[in-house]
């Protein structure tokens, strides 16, 4: 049976026009999604099962054991949430409050600063629909959506015809890449590729700022001033410009100050917005949810007396300083994504993993609890990279519990 449209949870673009062919409760074909999305929706080859200390158990035993570990822990950490629905995220935050836990997510070491600036209204932002209909200049900065968010250019930022962009990408839009290497996305931008050295972003911003102020732009890496002036001209003439900020930019800037200065300058002559290239499908959702409840997007400690926040409560520093004595990992695989030394230390803490699939973290966990794949085996809501809320639908039936149900049950047993 051919059904849809569904929402893909392969990345934070949350493409909502996916069709699927279903036979005997199995997804046998997925249309319109990119290849990465197809592999997400069709599911992994190594589904996780419920285990305690390496032995297969029923889900109740696993949940009971998880509750016991968390109850006896003095400094538990709840980490992940990027591949969880908003409903689950509300529950994990509630659990963190209840057990006086540290709570953090991957934004702590990636897009966090940008999302924080957006939520605190320091950075102007817009929706992807506005990009489709209005944007005439799009800048991929330290980002390579052709590899990270494959449909970004076709669905929103470059190729589609929009209400105010009826003539197509060649005439109506200019795509620019600023990066340290000629990525697949940069190659599509032709001569609008600005190659900068590693950590050269701040200097490039300054040069661009000079060019926008009609001064001769100088760089220590000798980029042709004419090229920077040409870019400044394109940006000045733009009606609706958008910077898509990737990790390349985030990691290169010590503070957001140069970026904020540039955006303000650009907004003197035209309209410019920024959208962070969020990876996991609902990482931004977690940041929004925690922000609503605590005023902070990540790195929060629900202490007995007060809520604390800061870099010392980031997963990295908590592990570096041996603070954590148990961790619940949900919707993430930190042992694969953290620096090796930190991953090794985390692996020595009693771990509980809740996930649909086996991963490096689950392999080293004391307790694993198998959950339904969100957007495929269960419904929910999530927040897209641009801050828009999207409703996820269920595609097939499962007897696995959702993340939300599992967290609820763990809470019930504490």
């Amino acid at each position: 049976m051919y059904k849809g449209p569904f929402v893909c949870t392969g990345c934070a673009l949350l493409c909502d026009d996916i069709a699927a062919e279903i036979q005997d409760n199995r997804i046998i074909r997925v249309d319109t999604a990119c290849r990465k999305g197809v592999s997400r929706i069709k599911g992994c080859s190594s589904p996780m099962s419920c285990m305690v200390n390496g032995k297969a158990v029923d889900i109740d035993t696993a949940i009971k054991e998880a509750a016991m570990i968390l109850k006896s822990s003095k400094h538990p950490l709840i980490f992940g949430h990027g591949n969880c629905t908003l409903e689950t995220q509300k529950k994990t935050i509630e659990l963190a409050r209840k057990i006086y836990a540290h709570i953090d997510d991957t934004s702590s070491f990636c897009q966090g600063p940008l999302i924080e600036a957006i939520l605190n209204e320091k950075l102007p932002t817009c929706t992807l629909e506005e990009v489709r209909h209005k944007a005439d200049v799009v800048i991929f900065w330290g980002a390579d959506p052709s590899n990270s968010h494959p449909r970004h250019l076709s669905m929103y930022s470059y190729f589609p015809r929009g209400k105010e962009r009826q003539r197509g990408w060649e005439e109506d839009r200019t795509a620019i890449t600023i990066d340290i290497r000629k990525s697949d996305t940069a190659a599509l931008c032709g001569d609008k590729f600005y190659e900068i050295p590693i950590n050269g972003d701040s200097e490039f911003i300054n040069a661009l700022f000079s060019a926008l102020s009609n001064k001769v732009p100088k760089t220590s890496f000798n980029m042709d001033p004419k090229k920077i002036l040409e870019l400044a001209n394109i940006l000045k003439k733009s009606d609706f410009g958008v910077i898509f900020a990737g990790l390349g930019m985030v990691y290169s800037l010590d503070s957001l100050e140069p970026l904020l200065r540039l955006i303000n300058k650009l907004n003197e002559t035209s309209k410019f917005y920024l959208i962070p290239m969020v990876g996991q499908y609902n990482m931004r959702g977690f940041d929004h949810t925690l922000f609503k409840e605590t005023g902070y997007i990540n790195r929060v400690y629900f202490g007995r007396e007060k809520i604390e926040h800061g870099p010392q409560h980031s997963i990295i520093e908590l592990i570096n300083n041996n603070v954590v004595d148990a961790a619940l990992i949900i919707g993430s695989d930190p042992l694969a994504s953290l620096p090796g030394e930190i991953a090794k230390k985390l692996a020595n803490v009693p771990l509980i993993t809740i996930d649909p699939c086996n991963n490096l973290t689950s392999q080293r966990s004391k307790v694993t609890i198998s959950s339904a794949l969100s957007g495929v085996e269960c419904a929910g809501t999530a927040i897209r990279m641009d801050g828009v809320e999207v409703t996820l639908k269920q595609i097939i039936e499962t007897d696995r519990f959702s993340d939300e149900q599992i967290i609820k049950q763990i809470m019930g047993k504490i």
Binding site: A33, R132, M155, F159, P160, W169
Partner: protein, 152 residues
């Protein structure tokens, strides 16, 4: 896309005619146009040509995946991003609300779509490169980030 000389250099260059062609160069021309199968060159199967044979197999995708217009998708390279689907001028005219707007196709008049994560031709005879008024359109090739499409 491999060049004629690249292919020729990998052949035995003995002009043995076992493939039915007069020269190895003629075989290379037909191989590039996918008019002939690599396996027709029997000497290539010999051990000393093994690396060349394997490399040629990789370079020349079999004729089976080819459509009438010569629209060829390298499935190992295609990422299903849909840039070609959205940029294709025939799709734009056929489906302004769907594919032209970056979304799933809303009718069956479009000529390329993404199925199971890979671009597939559906009404490829409507391609601008086909028919009496054919033009050399590059929209799908130029917008592909992985160079997965070629016309042969």
């Amino acid at each position: 896309m491999p060049s004629l000389m690249e292919i020729y250099q990998m052949l035995p260059k003995t002009n043995c005619k076992k493939c039915g062609k007069a020269t190895c160069m003629a075989f290379a021309v037909d191989l590039l146009a996918r008019k002939i199968n690599i396996d027709e060159c029997t000497p290539l199967k010999e051990e000393k040509y093994r690396t060349a044979y394997e490399k040629l197999k990789e370079m020349i995708t079999p004729v089976g995946a080819l459509t009438e217009t010569g629209f060829l998708v390298h499935e190992d390279k295609c990422i299903g991003c849909g840039n070609c689907v959205v940029a294709c001028p025939v799709n734009v005219v056929a489906d302004p609300e769907g594919t032209a707007s970056g979304r799933a196709p809303s009718n069956d008049k479009v000529i390329i779509v993404i199925k199971d994560g890979i671009v597939r031709p559906v009404n490829i005879q409507e391609c601008r490169r086909f028919g009496p008024n054919k033009t050399l359109c590059y929209a799908c090739i130029d917008t592909c980030p992985t160079k997965a499409i070629e016309f042969v």
